[in-house]
Symmetry: C2
Subunit: 345 residues, 2 copies
């Protein structure tokens, strides 16, 4: 039998309250509260007495009581569409979380993780967020038609997006400079003498996918690239494979492919191999994300690295700012990408 069952005092009610600390320190509740919250206007003597009492009693403030009166929750939510956790290049997920956690580390903000899987859950989430249970929201992997950002806007709840819906995104966001990254990748291919550089895009209802396609086009300068060299996919390996087959059928002479994700690039490499084409000899391949997949393909894949962990950290910092200063105008941050050259190009 657990101690808690025998003696209800052990868990819960036994914990010292503000009042107990006040009594022990021989001061009033107000003074203890001031010390705990670091407000000014407490004499050194009183402060010392309170701190001593706190230490002796092992006092920890009751968060619920505080929330009840201040209506701050000291919690932020990280909302991730469930589907993304499967599709997106693997480390994306953990890197984001790691970054966000790091950004929150010196705060005593709690991180609530919310995976949204179904439309039903999405609705529940709306109710949830409306109910003020968090001080702010981080939202990653937004699609263009995602209703959540709009909801956050109307709720006037501090929020920072990872990525943006379009280039006119009103909410604060952090994203990688996808267009430049893609452009650098394609320029790299062209610079190595490739002539017919194809691309495999992500789903075009995501701005990341569009931006990478734009970068691909921009790399061609005034010379509009052959539209038959553009194939659309969905960030999955199978999608990448399918797109590669299409491309080979349409333009058998292509000599390079830029895929908007490593996973798609891996699918493409598979198809190339099956078609008897060698990488990079016959067809050079560049991916995007520099995920773990890129390092393990054969040959190892050239890829565009995005600083995902830093993005998470930045998002967290921006959110804390917005929470602390509600009037703040929204901010838009783009972080640089970096081309990591390996043997596939």
């Amino acid at each position: 039998m657990s101690r808690a069952e025998k003696d209800p005092e052990v868990r819960g009610s036994a914990r010292p309250t503000l009042e107990a600390v006040a009594a022990r320190a021989g001061v009033g509740r107000g003074t203890v509260s001031r010390v705990v919250n670091g407000s000014a206007g407490v004499s050194a003597r009183a402060r010392a007495a309170v701190e001593k009492a706190i230490a002796e009693l092992g006092y920890v403030p009751n968060r619920a009581a505080r929330t009840l009166v201040t209506s701050r929750t000291d919690a932020v939510a990280l909302v991730i569409p469930e589907a993304e956790t499967r599709l997106v290049a693997e480390p994306y997920f953990s890197d984001t979380i790691r970054g966000v956690t790091a950004g929150l580390a010196d705060t005593d903000m709690q991180l609530l993780l919310i995976l949204v899987r179904t439309a039903k859950e999405r609705e529940r989430l709306a109710a949830y967020l409306s109910a003020q249970r968090v001080d702010g929201v981080l939202l990653v992997s937004v699609h263009e038609d995602d209703p959540l950002p709009t909801l956050l806007e109307t709720l006037d709840l501090p929020a920072v997006l990872g990525g943006r819906r379009s280039d006119r995104e009103p909410l604060s966001y952090v994203h990688a400079d996808n267009a430049s990254g893609a452009r650098a990748a394609v320029e790299h291919l062209l610079g190595r003498g490739r002539r017919a550089v194809a691309t495999i895009t992500g789903p075009l209802d995501m701005e990341v996918a569009r931006a990478r396609l734009d970068g691909y086009r921009a790399a061609h300068g005034a010379a509009r690239p052959d539209e038959a060299l553009v194939a659309h996919a969905d960030f999955t390996e199978e999608g990448g494979a399918r797109a590669m087959r299409e491309l080979l059928e349409r333009r058998p002479g292509l000599d390079a492919v830029f895929a908007a994700s490593d996973v798609m690039a891996a699918g493409a490499m598979q198809v190339l191999r099956e078609a008897g084409l060698r990488v990079p000899r016959d067809v050079a391949v560049v991916g995007f994300d520099d995920s773990i997949v890129a390092r393990h393909t054969d040959p190892p894949m050239t890829s565009v690295r995005q600083p995902i962990e830093e993005m998470g950290r930045t998002m967290a910092h921006m959110l804390l700012d917005e929470i602390a200063h509600p009037g703040l105008p929204h901010r838009h941050v783009a972080l640089a990408t970096e081309l990591v050259v390996r043997e596939s190009s």
Copy 2:
């Protein structure tokens, strides 16, 4: 200027309270509370009136107020040592989270994600958990000397571990049947005629690593395997490579390797290739985890799959049980693994 600034009523205080619902429905607070919490003893008439009022007002209970009086928080924490998010095979992290989320889906439990990075943070966490801010704790990737499980025990806080510290683990846990999985892998190699099967272990202060090593030994039956065929590493790719070099030096004639993780196996395959040995012709390789890495090595790797998402789901369910029924004896659940045969063996 945001609406909230102009009109403080918009955010927060404007939300209807229990009292408001009661007034609107023409009943007392108690009745509304009973309806909201689904307790019995409410007439159909009253219930209908209350439900109508709730819908009209868009009432959502204030969690903090409820927590304050019940001292339930309706939140559980998932604690992950930060280091693991880097080392462990990538999808582990997201699969676990996905599983836990799924297991919590029909509840209105919140999931708090806590990444512990430093010893300092670990201490803070102790204070945090002692402060009753969650109803229960999920703890993954425990090391033998981890002080947290013991803390949870003394706090008498509902907890479920992912993995166990030893085979005498008192706390509830869910783990994969590592020994059987490893055994199956090695038997598979022996069954294909391999004679000198080496193994690369994980850090032996983790029970998973020990269990997989035990499985390796068990597969050899009465015939104790040559101890020179056992090399220790740390679940990293570099560690796997280093161990492989050691093994090749000690026993150049080995014809198979079972690594306790895919990532280590990938490192080993790299070394084998550099040594001019072909996989699987000269040396067969089997990994553990069946992570994304296994599918992308060259050749694709045979690996032992563990049902990580299901483990997460099971952990969540068990925790909910322990929270609901505090007296419950601790439970230990082992989930079966499965050998996925690919070209590396």
